[in-house]
């Protein structure tokens, strides 16, 4: 009950921190997609390179977020961005690469070879084939990768409050510092709710962007 009271009393702050949180995650996902999706597409036709790229993305995943913030601090401090939103967004972009690249890669690799053969045999060049066939068919899997990354980033962004990035993590961090239980829980619950909400939103997007012809059966069956 106290938590609800806390949220009601601090409605305005809750709202602004939530928006802050969303903006960090949204911007980082946007950037991550801009980098990860083309990377996934490029490596989809070269298995060896793909393995290497995915391994590198995997390495970023293994670094704990708090450690990554620490590692970046001295480097970014040179440019004057050691703390705040910049290192947070860089970290989130790096963490997002694995699900985004991997899903894009898998999505394109899993297109039945006869479709690629038919597209090529009918006289589509590489770009047309990507635009007309491969990307539309891989879309549900690519969106699933973005969804994965977004939900994960909501959690990591909460930790980024420790380097002054803002967002709902601020409640948790300050709550811990002040041993203010309601504040900690309010932050935690809001972060969790946000994650669920974003997950549902992305699921809807996934559904909308699935081409109608494969939505009927849910597979690429030919």
């Amino acid at each position: 009950m106290n938590i609800i009271a806390f949220i009601m009393d601090n409605a305005e702050r809750c709202w602004s921190l939530t928006l802050d949180h969303i903006s960090i995650v949204a911007f980082s996902i946007f950037l991550a997609g801009l980098i990860g999706i083309p990377t996934g597409i490029i490596i989809s036709h070269n298995k060896k390179t793909a393995q290497k790229v995915i391994n590198i993305a995997n390495i970023f995943m293994t670094i704990p977020s708090i450690a990554l913030f620490g590692l970046m601090l001295p480097l970014l401090a040179i440019a004057g961005y050691g703390l705040g939103k910049v290192p947070a967004i860089i970290a989130l972009v790096l963490y997002s690469q694995l699900p985004i690249i991997r899903n894009t890669y898998v999505g394109i690799r899993n297109i039945p070879p006869e479709l690629v053969e038919a597209a090529t045999g009918l006289g589509m060049d590489r770009w047309t084939r990507l635009k007309e066939i491969e990307i539309p068919l891989a879309m549900p899997v690519i969106i699933a990768g973005l969804r994965n990354a977004a939900v994960m980033n909501i959690g990591i962004a909460a930790i980024a409050a420790y380097i002054g990035a803002g967002g709902l993590g601020v409640f948790i961090q300050q709550g811990i510092a002040r041993a203010y239980e309601d504040m900690i829980l309010a932050g935690a619950i809001l972060v969790a709710l946000l994650a669920i909400l974003i997950d549902c939103g992305m699921a809807l997007l996934e559904k909308i962007l699935t081409p109608k012809g494969i939505r009927i059966t849910g597979n690429l069956g030919v």
Binding site: A118, G121, G123, E132, I214
Partner: protein
């Protein structure tokens, strides 16, 4: 016109070279359907894929309408030829309309022309345009999908079609039907077609010529009749089957084997006694009775019991009548089924055109086999 000149394809690098197609030379004449036939791994599909540069040549030349394919932009080359494959490969994210429109769109046709073309193709293939245009491939049966695959390859009206087992994925009954439709379309369109199959029946049925491959080499390139009558080697005679004489029967029509046989034909108005005399002279089993130049049945000695009446009053009906265009295969089947040694052959008006007997068919097949052997023999 497609010309293959010393075409060779070797896969792999270094010590692990796998030759798939070895020094192949032959022509597919304009308007002809050439079947590439052979067991899997014989190089037939590789040769097809070399033709539209899905694979690159190791050596040799391929010319399309007297132009070396290497002089083409590969994408433009492929757009200029229809292409269909066994797996069909309809794009599941596109409607039937979108699938058929692929090549015309790549070639920059305007939308009204594409629309007209899609409607035309769907009608040709017996699919109601308004019902099918906006559907997705998953909503169609296998046979319908296969038809769309063929329609898609014909969309931009290419001179040349490359087809890799295009009817391989459907059940035998539908396959038979789509083959018939395809033959009738081809008889009108007269495309130059390279058609890969491993099915000897399909090859005989569809091919103007059949190219038989074994281990990457072209063993024989000939008409189906010649291949059945004199296979170039043991492998081919094994491949075409020990029943090749029976298969040959399917390639010839009743009119090619029938004969006149005036002495066993009698007019319906003839008196029974006169007809019996004919039997005495000729030692014949039965006679065909015609009336108004149409065969109305046959008579044998027992049937002519009443010597005074006209023959037409004592005829026995034939269980079936053979048309000029029936295949010898069907004729033999009728003979065996009804235990008849001969049948009258009629034209499309029902008038008697000739008579076909066991003996006629035997002589016809014998002549075909002898002719071919003499022509290609040493």
């Amino acid at each position: 016109m497609i010309q293959y000149r010393g075409v060779t394809k070797i896969f792999g690098h270094g010590p692990e070279l796998i030759p798939a197609v070895k020094d192949i030379t032959f022509d597919i004449k304009p308007g002809e359907l050439a079947v590439f036939l052979g067991p899997s791994g014989c190089g037939k599909t590789t040769l097809l894929r070399l033709t539209n540069r899905l694979l690159s040549l190791t050596s040799g030349e391929i010319e399309i309408n007297s132009q070396d394919i290497m002089a083409w932009n590969p994408v433009k080359l492929r757009q200029s030829m229809g292409y269909s494959i066994q797996e069909i490969g309809l794009f599941p994210n596109k409607t039937i309309y979108g699938n058929i429109a692929v090549v015309p769109r790549l070639m920059g046709w305007d939308e009204s022309r594409i629309k007209e073309r899609v409607d035309e193709l769907l009608s040709i293939l017996g699919l109601e345009p308004d019902i099918f245009k906006d559907r997705y491939p998953v909503e169609l049966s296998g046979g319908q999908q296969q038809r769309i695959g063929v329609a898609r390859s014909l969309a931009a009206d290419p001179d040349i079609l490359l087809m890799d087992e295009p009817f391989g994925a459907i059940d035998p009954i539908n396959r038979e039907r789509i083959q018939d439709e395809f033959l009738s379309i081809q008889s009108k369109l007269k495309k130059t077609i390279a058609f890969v199959t491993h099915d000897i029946h399909e090859a005989i049925k569809l091919g103007d010529r059949i190219a038989i491959f074994q281990d990457g080499r072209l063993i024989q390139y000939d008409t189906p009749e010649t291949i059945l009558a004199c296979p170039a080697n043991q492998f081919i005679s094994y491949f075409v089957g020990t029943d090749r004489a029976i298969k040959t029967l399917g390639l010839y029509r009743a009119q090619e084997a029938m004969s006149e046989k005036p002495d066993i034909i009698i007019q319906g108005a003839m008196r029974g006694l006169e007809a019996l005399n004919r039997f005495d002279h000729k030692d014949l089993a039965d006679m065909i009775v015609i009336h108004d130049s149409k065969p109305i049945g046959y008579v044998d000695i027992q049937a002519l019991g009443n010597k005074g009446s006209e023959v037409k009053d004592s005829v026995l009906a034939f269980p079936v009548l053979i048309n000029l265009n029936d295949t010898l295969r069907d004729v033999v089947s009728h003979m065996l089924m009804h235990d008849f040694k001969q049948f009258p052959v009629i034209d499309d008006n029902g008038d008697l055109a000739g008579v076909i007997s066991h003996d006629d068919i035997r002589k016809c097949i014998l002549k075909i086999f002898n002719d071919r052997e003499n022509r290609t023999g040493p």
